[in-house]
């Protein structure tokens, strides 16, 4: 090291980490971090951001390269080593013991005294809590806490150990905008306190809002570090993806629309016995993407599940109009004249056979639809095993399908038989959506298909949905990001408290309009009346 080189709080040199023989998660990464600075680590899903930071926090060991702290090489062999060096990581999936209190979780792993002095611990926790304005109750059990509170416990846990280098892995993924703002205030307070902070994210506006510097990774390689003030979202996206990307979402026009699904006066009860859907009526057309917007828990899940036959309808009808067999993608269109087929009362299997497909991406991606411990081939087979009765399974078609998906959707995996839970989140989602599309449905329903996905993966999913639409499929998509819904969907159905609040045209509606419909049935006319 020459005298001219600055000494950084943490410096990574040539860090390499491999999983198996084929997947190189980190390929000779160099990175520097200083105190009193917030560094954003930006990259697509599977680009190796979390893996890299896991090596700083002692979860993984690097295969090659060295880590320097204040210019001196250090070895981080375990999370304990990391803490000893003042490095604390707040993981995306919180590492908390549910049945313990906040205080118990905070002191976990510490050895100051053999006895557990609950009063003393609670006092110290309150002290930190007051300093940065967290406001947590040391005696509250984790399972009683909201997501945001759990995150706060994680941060306090790290600070309690005296960490001055903090790593946050996608801290805002599960927070509401208000909670995110509060978190950012806390981060700024800690930065002012001289702490070095790394925030892993793929949300560009957050990068711009919070960080001083941005380091970009792409496919396990280090691309570069730029000052936030000297860049913009477009440039960052190009660094991340490797080529120019249009941030506009395509909305091609289908050649024809015909009625595919008609819901009439649908009433459903939620799991707690309270009405989840009240008198819901709407139509979904083939060749269009119908967005479904609403505040979380407004009946979106129940609506999709009712159509898929997973949720019992108390009353009302769901009619399905199959496309005319002579219609095709090339534009030859024969209108449907047949009467609709009632879906209410049919089993999920019967409904699936008709061609109504549900690609539901729950918060926990592996929770519904995929078996984490099985490989892609086996997961493909889950959907098709009923087509080939008999005691033996033919693994060739699902294997071919899996390989096709890997190819077309650029899924990064060591092999078709690697358990899907070992893939990164975005890749798992691609497997799920890809499989649903492969069954060539006539109605494709997805919920939060891009939740937690980076830009490139999101655009792949949008492209897939648009392709389906152009094939004449009726696409129903529950989304959370209004900007995306307005850019992608032809029409948007807005739900409010289980009722249809309104249906707007995606091309002409504004964000404010939809926002009002989300909170007031009928678009805030009552609200205006009051005013």
């Amino acid at each position: 090291m020459t005298a001219l080189e600055t000494v950084h709080a943490i410096e990574l040199r040539g860090i390499t980490k491999r999983f198996g023989a084929k997947v190189v998660a980190n390929d000779h990464i160099d990175l520097a971090l200083d105190r009193g600075e917030i560094l954003s680590l930006l990259g697509e899903n599977g680009s190796g951001k979390t893996t890299l930071m896991n090596m700083l926090s002692g979860i993984y060991l690097p295969d090659e390269g060295e880590i320097l702290m204040e210019g001196k090489p250090i070895a981080i062999r375990s999370p304990k080593d990391a803490y000893d060096h003042g490095i604390g990581m707040i993981h995306q999936h919180y590492k908390l013991v549910d049945v313990f209190t906040a205080a118990e979780n905070i002191v976990l792993g510490l050895h100051d005294g053999k006895k557990l002095d609950r009063k003393e611990i609670a006092r110290k926790v309150r002290e930190i809590s007051d300093k940065y304005g967290f406001g947590i109750d040391p005696d509250k059990k984790i399972y009683d806490m909201s997501v945001s509170e759990k995150q706060t416990v994680e941060i306090v846990k790290v600070l309690y150990r005296g960490a001055d280098i903090l790593i946050l892995d996608e801290p805002t993924a599960v927070l509401t905008p208000q909670e995110t703002d509060r978190l950012f205030d806390i981060l700024r307070a800690m930065k002012a306190d001289g702490k070095a902070i790394v925030i892993i994210t793929h949300k560009l506006h957050e990068v711009m809002a919070i960080s001083d510097k941005v380091a970009v990774l792409r496919k396990g390689k280090y691309i570069g570090t730029v000052n936030t003030a000297e860049t913009d979202p477009q440039k960052l996206t190009e660094m991340m993806v490797g080529h120019a990307v249009s941030l506009n979402i395509d909305r091609p026009e289908a050649k024809y629309h015909d009625l595919r699904l008609e819901v009439k006066g649908l009433n459903c009860l939620g799991s707690d016995g309270v009405p989840a859907l009240t008198d819901v009526s709407f139509q979904a057309m083939g060749g269009e993407i119908l967005g479904i917007a609403g505040i979380a828990g407004s009946g979106q899940k129940e609506l999709l599940e009712a159509i898929a036959g997973l949720q019992k309808a108390e009353s009302g009808h769901i009619f399905y109009y199959p496309p005319h067999p002579k219609s095709d993608i090339a534009g030859k269109h024969v209108p449907v004249d047949k009467a609709g087929e009632e879906l209410v009362g049919k089993t999920p299997t019967q409904i699936q056979k008709i061609g109504v497909s549900l690609a539901f991406v729950p918060e926990d991606r592996l929770g519904m639809g995929l078996v984490g411990g099985m490989g892609m081939v086996d997961n493909m087979m889950l959907k098709t095993y009923k087509e080939h009765p008999g005691p033996f399974v033919d693994r060739k078609p699902p294997k071919a399908l899996a390989e096709k998906l890997i190819d077309e959707l650029e899924i990064v995996t060591p092999g078709v038989n690697t358990p899907v839970r070992r893939l990164s989140g975005g890749n798992v989602q691609k497997v799920l959506v890809g499989r649903e599309i492969a069954s060539s449905p006539t109605v494709l329903m997805t919920a939060y298909p891009v939740r937690g996905l980076d830009i490139n993966s999101s655009y792949t999913i949008y492209r897939l949905l648009n392709e389906q639409k152009m094939k004449g499929v009726a696409v129903l998509m529950v989304g959370e990001d209004l900007d995306v819904l307005l850019e992608l969907c032809d029409r948007i159905l807005v739900l409010c408290g289980g009722r249809v609040s309104g249906v707007v045209d995606g091309r002409t509606a504004t964000k404010e309009e939809v926002g009002l419909l989300m909170t007031h049935v009928g678009g805030g006319k009552e609200a205006e009346d009051h005013a």
Binding site: S57, G58, I59, Y60, S78, P79, K80, D81, A82, Y83, M89, H91, K95, L96, V97, D98, V99, F100, E104, N105, V107, L108, G109, L110, H111, G113, K114, K115, L116, K141, Y143, K157, R421, R422
Partner: protein, 331 residues
């Protein structure tokens, strides 16, 4: 008839005596399970503990002859029973923690292995000692009688119910109370519970998972095995009795569930199970075969499981990671 000979007092004191081997078995298994290791080999470890405990006392007396000291014999019996169980648990720990073998399969294998090993040692001692392993009555008394003076034992009601038991009852209660304190009031106990609940969390907090799991399993196995020795040296009368010991280990596993993984519950739980085990001798009802009585502890366990599952209180659930192997780099 004095009150100390009344049906209830006799039943309770017999229940305590019969429950004590279970108390050791259960408290040891709680320690192991709290660290996430479901060791189904309790039965095997209790057999090994029974055989080696008896052997330790027997060969000590053979060696020392007439100068044999009762206390030394008790300590040796406890020590060797503990070592036998710890050895069995060490095999289990190596397979499940270091090699990440399936815990259920390994535990069952240990149950079978330990039962066989215990029987072999027991039978070998019997044959080589000329058909009958027996220690002198003086030593037997130290194992079976109360350490308290006669004046205390003779008190009405509290005499037999508090002071009338053999030394192992008191040792068992002390271990259970100490275990409860350790698990809830000490740092190490907190760390151990976190290993059983969420090893990834414990690992990220810098806790040495492997060390905690090994220690909990090995020490827990040793404590469980003392239960086997207690059965042989008190209830079976210092004679190798493989039939009597059979099933004690499985009852201990059931009792762990019954007492919701809490050592303090194990104290009264073991008394209840002890009572249910001997009820057929004390309370005979017409037309009800004694075999039906013997399933009572299991029936009670099932009822408790149903009740606990219905209430869904998080604290009453088994350790969240019970039965799972932990591998840090597995995602």
């Amino acid at each position: 008839m004095s009150i100390n000979q009344s049906f209830l007092v006799l039943l309770i004191s017999a229940a305590v005596l019969n429950g004590t081997p279970l108390l050791f078995g259960t408290v040891g298994e709680i320690l192991s399970e709290k660290a996430g290791n479901l060791n189904l080999g309790v039965e095997g470890m209790m057999y090994m503990g029974g055989a080696l405990g008896l052997g330790a006392a027997f060969y000590y007396e053979q060696a020392a002859g007439g100068s044999a000291n009762g206390i030394v014999a008790v300590v040796l019996a406890i020590l060797f029973a503990f070592l036998a169980g710890a050895f069995g648990a060490l095999i289990y720990a190596f397979l499940t923690i270091s090699l990440r073998a399936n815990q259920n399969v390994t535990g069952l294998a240990l149950a079978i292995f330990g039962t066989g090993a215990g029987q072999f040692i027991g039978e070998y001692m019997r044959v080589s000692a000329g058909g009958y392993v027996a220690i002198s009555n003086a030593l037997k008394d130290v194992f079976a009688n109360s350490p308290f003076p006669a004046a205390l034992r003779g008190l009405p009601v509290v005499g037999p119910l508090i002071f009338g038991y053999n030394i192992f009852v008191y040792v068992g209660v002390i271990i259970a109370v100490a275990m409860a304190w350790f698990l809830t009031r000490s740092r190490a106990g907190l760390h151990l519970r976190s290993v059983g609940e969420s090893p990834a969390t414990a690992d990220a907090a810098g806790i040495n998972i492997t060390r905690y799991k090994y220690l909990a399993t090995v020490i827990g196995g040793g404590i469980s095995a003392i239960g086997g020795m207690v059965y042989i040296m008190t209830i079976a009368g210092c004679v190798w009795n493989h039939e009597g010991l059979s099933g004690e280990g499985w009852l201990a596993v059931a009792l762990v569930i019954f007492c919701l993984w809490r050592p303090l519950n194990a104290i009264w739980g073991s008394v209840l199970f002890g009572a249910l085990m001997i009820l057929y001798m004390r309370l005979q009802l017409p037309f009800i075969p004694s075999q039906l009585y013997k399933i009572l502890p299991y029936v009670v366990t099932v009822i408790v499981l149903v009740a606990v599952s219905m209430r869904k209180k998080r604290e009453n659930q088994p350790p969240a990671s019970l039965g799972n192997a932990y591998f840090r780099e597995d995602r």
